[in-house]
């Protein structure tokens, strides 16, 4: 946490006295996300990912130096937009990453569009890439894609016929839950229970009783990983024997720590998993662990790759120019994309990335890959 304070101070110092004279050109990248409030952990992952890649690139030296400017939005969309305006107009960043909360990322789209700044987010809300902005890139699998993968796995592979959904009544939970429902419909099914909970709630006994009465054999809780962990625990305490399903929201190691034994056997779809034996991924995991003393999650990996893409684009263009970055990244094609820890990156016209998700299962507190 001191690091962020230091970074923040450095950012302000820089903003105040201008860039120090040096032979290296600076690529400024703004990061907007919650560092306080309920979703602080997600914002933290986002920042760590960007920061780690920046450090790595800077250690290599070269013509360009990456500078990360972090802004806290406390999950408040007004603050996300304010921070974006500050980053874009005052700090003149080459690209903006964020916000971690999907509605706030959506709120930022008009600003990045207007000031023609490449905008990268792992927000899952469908609407983010439907605003007619060529400047926004989603560096994650959207709600629809994630839930489709999850629903098909649960129904086709695990043969579940009665699936229940328990979702947070915010934009994230609603997007995921509706996506899952649509995916089930595509399979000719309907969820047997479809319950929401107020996002700050911590007691789910009532909703779980409904799930129990519905005779569901599998439960898909979605919302914050904290709530999902509590749901897993409380379901177990009520003696319910359910196959748990989870999306990338639960992909963080913190979910396993909080849910403990209750997470056992659960299936999670995630864009990244530290369990992958691939040597590139293992080096990344080891490096991250050495610096931050925990396993990286999907959010870390996504932002790590994003900063990599930006740096590559700048190196190609020879200057930290917004237009050049955008056109380079928009020009990625299958087979000619950027190769990061998450595999190959390329985007469609709307700025949507395509990559296969891992299906992992939790066994003895560890993630085991089922398929990708």
């Amino acid at each position: 946490m001191k690091r962020i304070a230091w970074l923040g101070a450095a950012a302000v110092g820089l903003a105040l006295c201008g860039t120090p004279a040096s032979a290296q050109e600076v690529i400024k990248i703004g990061v907007v996300g919650p560092l306080t409030g309920q979703f602080a952990a997600v914002g933290q992952s986002q920042l760590y990912g960007a920061e780690m890649k920046a450090k790595e690139l800077n250690a290599k030296g070269g013509k360009f130096k990456v500078e990360i400017i972090s802004e806290d939005d406390a999950s408040n969309c007004d603050q996300s937009v304010n921070a974006t305006v500050k980053l874009v107009t005052r700090d003149r960043v080459a690209a903006v990453l964020g916000a971690a909360n999907s509605p706030c990322a959506l709120a930022m789209v008009p600003v990045t569009k207007r000031y023609q700044t490449p905008h990268f987010t792992f927000g899952v809300g469908t609407a983010i890439t439907k605003q007619g902005s060529e400047w926004v890139f989603r560096v994650a699998v959207a709600a629809m894609g994630q839930t489709k993968a999850l629903a098909e796995y649960a129904v086709k592979k695990l043969k579940h016929q009665k699936l229940a959904v328990l979702y947070a009544d915010d934009e994230y939970g609603a997007s995921m839950a509706e996506g899952f429902k649509a995916a089930l419909k595509g399979l000719g099914m309907e969820p047997v229970a479809f319950e929401s909970y107020p996002r700050a709630d911590k007691d789910f006994a009532g909703q779980l009783a409904k799930v129990k009465a519905s005779g569901a054999t599998a439960l898909y809780p979605t919302g914050s990983y904290q709530a999902s962990a509590l749901i897993a625990k409380q379901a177990r305490q009520l003696g319910m024997n359910l196959q748990l399903l989870g999306d990338t929201g639960n992909a963080t190691p913190k979910y396993l720590e909080l849910a403990g034994e209750a997470a056992e056997g659960g299936i999670i779809v995630e864009p990244f998993t530290p369990a992958d034996p691939d040597s590139k991924i293992q080096t990344f995991v080891k490096e991250f662990k050495a610096q931050y003393n925990r396993d990286p999650d999907g959010w870390v990996a996504e932002m790590y790759d994003t900063v990599g893409m930006i740096a590559e684009a700048v190196a190609k263009a020879g200057k930290a120019d917004q237009k050049a970055i955008r056109s380079h990244i928009a020009g990625y094609k299958p087979g000619q994309g950027y190769r990061g820890v998450l595999g190959e990156w390329y985007f469609d016209k709307e700025g949507e990335a395509t990559f296969a998700l891992y299906k992992v299962q939790i066994k003895n507190g560890q993630k085991v890959i089922l398929e990708r």
């Binding site: 806290d72 709120a107 911590k202 024997n241």
Partner: protein, 658 residues
């Protein structure tokens, strides 16, 4: 690779029992769960009730006592493997001590200044913000699980599964409540406390030390919160937002019980059970709507004061006292007024000339909030009525204008006033709430705000729910499309000035005098022939309409809205604006909005320390500037008036506050 973990997932041979209604066992299971959580609501709610009874204060820091208890307990468990009941006891003592400290260092100096109630309230809000930010620095942002102190294996009897932890919570919780009841009924200190909470002046005559009593209250409240924290943290993890998430519900528990000791205990238990059963039986989407509606109904039926004048306005400390009515006294020379207005004009012209987009952006937001704050100033500052639901009207305005523009293509010049009308109309419909007084009104407006928020979230056919509305067009006035920051600066300024002028006209009229009379002493106002209920209603409608206008300006400015922008948190922020600016002064409302919006933005550089500093600033504002910024500005204003009027005779060198 598709094998499943042992026993965690039902095998394919598992036969689902199929749809079935909820049986008695499930119901009892739910009731037990509800009682457990209700027990925690009771403990925290008792803290609310005690402070409210003894000092008339709603203590926003009560939630943070829960958080503190959770973290202190966890730290104790980490360094020292003590049995749970000892951890509980030590934490209770520690948080209790903290509560006394808070009273001594922060609240007592404010109470001593005879500051209005709202100032104390904002101070506790400052404590709450600071403590949360400090907790993040010490314990980190992520929730921390408790070690498994009790077995995870549920005890089973009569087909019910009960965790040992639930039994501990129920046991220790009920024991604490019994102890408290004994303390109040049988011990001398407890009896004196009750006497003092009923009538401090008379109790003092009989030798009850009122100061010690207040200290005792805060100590006890904090201890109860801390105890609740240790009890629920093993269930819900220790996190910095733990207390915050149950704040509204525990307050509702206290209100449900009429802020009495036994009442709150029962209220909390009842609330826990109702909440859990409602989620299980009726609808999880509407369970909180149901809860708040019940609360409103109870308030309206049981806590409506018999006398139209109510109790706390005349008896307790005032919500808003007669301070800072004008920045410049009426006797200030004309030159001073012109100078102040000229200075304001220059300050207003500078940002667009300097042309920094970011500065303009936050100024625009600040002025939008300024319009809402002007409205709240009428309700709180001039009429002395609590409102914790202002964001609801702001939201109604935002949604009205946005929906009109997006769905019907309604032009901005029409949708803006319609947004004001819609919010004002809702304000008029809610006017019966104003029969409540003091903290009951606070609770009522809080519940109202929550209900409106939940409806925005759940009326998906209209509002698109959590997804929100996007693509709200920029305002178009004739040929001019306001799509730039400087353009919006002009537009918002114009609306703000119009609202300001209209409200100034209102408060300088006969009606304004009636409002002030109601604020100062409702009973006396009634006796003097002021139609208090009508005056309050008009003020409320005018104030809420302003919030609606602000909402419309906001919606078209950010072009994307969702219900998150209109939460209880935003209502509190608006109250903070009015108090920091100075109650009972229109320009002060705008000033407060500027400070509350600009301050966190300019504190960004402090990163993790941002909220620590923001909270501390709120506290020090209330401690050293009880009259708000208006008080601070009045002094140079006076000096200025003195200089300019040096040639003229200045009446009374030493002014008494207006």
């Amino acid at each position: 690779m598709t094998s499943r973990a042992r026993g965690a997932a039902p095998g394919p041979d598992f036969k689902p029992r199929g749809q079935q209604a909820m049986d008695l066992t499930t119901l009892s299971q739910l009731a037990i769960g509800g009682l457990t959580i209700g027990c925690v609501y009771s403990l925290v709610g008792l803290g609310f009730a005690l402070t409210l009874r003894a000092t008339d204060l709603i203590n926003f820091a009560q939630g943070e006592m829960v958080m503190l208890g959770a973290f202190l307990g966890l730290t104790l468990v980490w360094i020292w493997p003590l049995p749970f009941y000892l951890v509980f006891t030590i934490t209770v003592v520690l948080t209790g001590f903290f509560g006394v400290l808070m009273e001594r260092l922060i609240l007592r100096p404010i109470i001593k200044k005879k500051a209005p109630l709202l100032n104390l309230l904002i101070a506790t809000l400052g404590v709450s913000i600071t403590l949360q930010a400090l907790a993040i620095l010490v314990w980190g942002r992520e929730p921390l699980p408790y070690p498994e102190i009790f077995g995870q294996q549920p005890l089973r009897f009569l087909g019910l599964a009960v965790l040992p932890l639930n039994l501990w919570i129920l046991g220790l919780g009920l024991l604490t409540m019994a102890g408290l009841q004994f303390f109040f009924q049988k011990t001398m200190t407890g009896i004196s406390w009750r006497a003092a909470s009923l009538d401090p002046a008379t109790a003092a005559l009989y030798g009850v030390n009122p100061r010690r009593n207040v200290a005792l209250t805060f100590g006890l409240s904090a201890a109860l919160g801390g105890g609740a924290g240790v009890l629920i943290a093993p269930l819900f993890f220790a996190s910095f937002g733990l207390g915050h998430s149950i704040l509204a519900k525990t307050f509702a528990a206290a209100a449900l019980g009429g802020f009495g000791v036994v009442g709150t205990m029962l209220g909390g238990l009842l609330l826990g059970v109702i909440e859990t059963l409602a989620a299980g039986l009726i609808s999880s989407e509407y369970k909180n709507v149901i809860m708040y509606a019940i609360l409103l109904a109870i308030l309206m039926f049981f806590f409506r004061p018999r006398l139209p004048a109510g109790r706390s306005i005349t008896e307790g400390p005032k919500v808003a006292a007669g301070r800072a009515v004008r920045l410049l006294g009426a006797d200030s020379p004309r030159a001073a007024k012109l100078l102040v207005w000229g200075l304001g004009l220059i300050l207003w012209v500078l940002p667009p000339l300097q042309g920094e987009i970011y500065t303009l952006r936050i100024l625009n937001l600040a002025m939008i909030f300024g319009v809402a704050a002007l409205g709240l100033q009428i309700i709180v500052g001039y009429t002395g009525q609590f409102s914790f639901g202002h964001a609801a009207f702001y939201g109604v305005g935002a949604y009205t204008s946005a929906l009109l523009a997006v769905n019907l293509g309604c032009p901005f010049w029409l949708s803006l006033p319609l947004a004001g009308v819609a919010a004002g109309l809702l304000g008029w419909l809610c006017a019966p709430l104003l029969r409540l007084s003091g903290h009951f009104l606070a609770m009522g407006t809080l519940a109202l705000g929550e209900i409106v928020f939940l409806l925005m979230l759940n009326w998906k056919w209209l509002t698109k729910g959590a997804y929100g509305l996007y693509g709200i067009p920029f305002p178009r006035l004739g040929p001019w499309e306001v799509d730039s920051e400087p353009g919006y600066y002009l537009l918002v300024s114009a609306v703000m000035v119009l609202v300001y002028l209209a409200l100034r006209r209102l408060i300088r009229s006969r009606m304004g005098l009636a409002l002030l009379a109601v604020r100062e002493n409702e009973l006396a106002a009634l006796a003097s022939g002021v139609e208090a209920a009508g005056a309050k209603m008009k003020a409320f409608v005018a104030g809420t309409a302003c919030a609606g206008l602000a909402g419309a300006l906001y919606a078209h400015y950010v072009s994307y809205i969702n219900p998150e922008s209109f939460t209880f948190q935003v209502s509190i922020e608006m109250v903070t604006m009015v108090v920091i600016g100075g109650l009972g002064s229109l320009p002060a409302g705008i000033l407060g909005a500027l400070v509350v919006v600009l301050l966190p933005e300019y504190l960004r550089a402090l990163a993790d320390y941002r909220l620590v500093v923001y909270g501390a600033l709120l506290i020090s504002f209330m401690m050293f500037l009880p009259g708000g910024l208006a008080d601070l500005l009045r002094r140079p204003g006076r000096v200025l008036a003195g200089w300019l009027g040096a040639g003229l005779p200045v009446r009374g060198g030493n002014h008494v506050a207006a």
